[in-house]
Amino acid sequence: MPAIRERYDALVIGGGIAGMQAALELSEQGYEVLLVERDPSIGGVMVGLNKVFPTLDCSSCICTPRMAEAAHHPRIQLQTWSEVKRVEKDGDGFRVEVLRKPRYVDEDKCLGCDECELVCPIDVPHEFDYGLGARRAVYVPHANAIPHKAVLDVEHCVYCGKCEKACPTDAFDFAQQPLVDATRVGTVVISTGLQITPMDRKKEYGGGRLPNVLSPLAMERLQSSNGPYGRVLRPSDGRIPRTIGYVQCAGSRDRSIGVPYCSRVCCMYALKQALLLRHYIHDVEVTLYCMDIRAFGKGYEQFYRRAVREGVRIVKGKVARIQETDGRDLLLRVERIDVDGRIEEHRYDLVVLAQGLVPAWHADGVIDIEEAEDGFVRTPEAKLNPSFTTMEGVFVAGVAAGPKDIPDAIVEAGEAAMAAANHLERTRWRAGTARAAEAEETEIEEEPALV
């Protein structure tokens, strides 16, 4: 892992699909980029998804080439397992402090061979699988992780030393300490992504206590071929579900939990998951309870119709309550919207809450930009310059600015990179490496003409 240099052209905060896209577009224009990711791997939420809508392409098959490209680009320095602690205006650029968390593994020596993970005696719930699966106290984050390096979770370590003995390259470095490094950059792109509304917000839906009420991201992992169970099973007892209910707007368009906006992707990811469940379990019945279906994007309406054609049942109704029965089945109390407002109860093996999107990060204490009332980064010129924030030279991309789907996040990341490049040219910021050398060459060529 190279040291953090004194100067870069751009800092990109967050290594999900939007951050990778912004970093790649800047680096392709010759700018030196520092890409900081708080997790031990880049890839963000997208690398954990099963398939993308409406094409049903494998999500990681799209995401991992982009991850590899970002990791191997000569003008992008990846700084994973690190957090940006402070960004301050400093002349034409910004002074940045980055906290580098200890992996307790020398990244230059680690082969990502898993030998340490195989001998570690501790299994703990794996964050990547939303707790449904296990990982070891020392682990490579997931099969597609980049960098594909081990990290020691010291909170769960029993200090047995087996990992160190199993390592073929002597990569363990238990003396590593958290380090705060300072650098200077000419521009900043914030691409800190999303989390979903917490399960415990909706008490009437079980408040996160019912094992067979899943978040949509947990269902993504269950449907993934490298998911925690290798197939879709009920977490409470391992049964192959026969009836599955989807509760739409279970964390959006809901003033009672402070999320009044539409999260824009829930209808489509629910339809995608429902359709795939029909493919994966031959006799499963899937019912979506929704106020309406918002299929706004290219090919989305056609996808909705396909899902209905292939047997996904859509019911216009609002789920008021979810209760657990003795056998851990789930009883949904539904107010029908389409049939004179009558109340019905339906029983399901498994329920998925179509939770909304909220910001995964807040600027408070890190950088002096404004956030909007909904907590996303404020974009004062949303129509003409959607990546502009309230601070000159600081731009935003992806869900950090508001809920959006993957194509929109990628388009916006390109716009943010272009705006950041314009800012660098305006301020004539140079990182002092490749770009500066190019600029010097240009000046040398021009000088004789002036003489």
Binding site: Y104, L118, P121, I122, D123, V124, P125, L132, G133, A134, R136, V154, H156, C157, V158, Y159, G161, E164, K165, D170, F172, D173, F174, A175, P211, P228, Y229, G230, R231, L233, P235, S236, D237, G238, R239, I240, R242
Partner: protein, 99 residues
């Protein structure tokens, strides 16, 4: 050879010991977690030694909550100790891997 091994483990061991000391040793919670994991795995291995079982079968035989059984079984599956061995009545059967 012995010197090479000592050279390999010596300094790293002291760094590990220093890390352990700096973090106040192994917490009581982690000791309890590890003991529970070992107890559950012992029961599951004993039941699976008699043949393939579903999660409810294992839960009943081992006196464990089915959700816990599934989580531990999936951990064993991930690290190569257990594999699927068919289906019965909407439940997957799991068996110890040979060798």
């Amino acid at each position: 050879m012995a010197e090479a091994v000592a050279a390999k483990t010596g300094p790293a061991k002291s760094a590990l010991a220093a890390l352990r000391e700096s973090r106040g040793g192994v917490s009581a919670a982690m000791k309890a977690w590890l003991k529970d994991q070992q107890d559950v795995r012992k029961k599951l291995r004993a039941s699976l030694a008699a043949g393939a079982r579903s999660v409810p079968d294992l839960a009943a035989e081992c006196g464990l909550e089915p959700g816990r059984v599934l989580w531990h079984l999936m951990a064993m599956r991930r690290y190569g100790e257990v594999a699927e061995a068919g289906e019965k009545d909407r439940y997957v059967l799991y068996a110890l891997k040979k060798g």
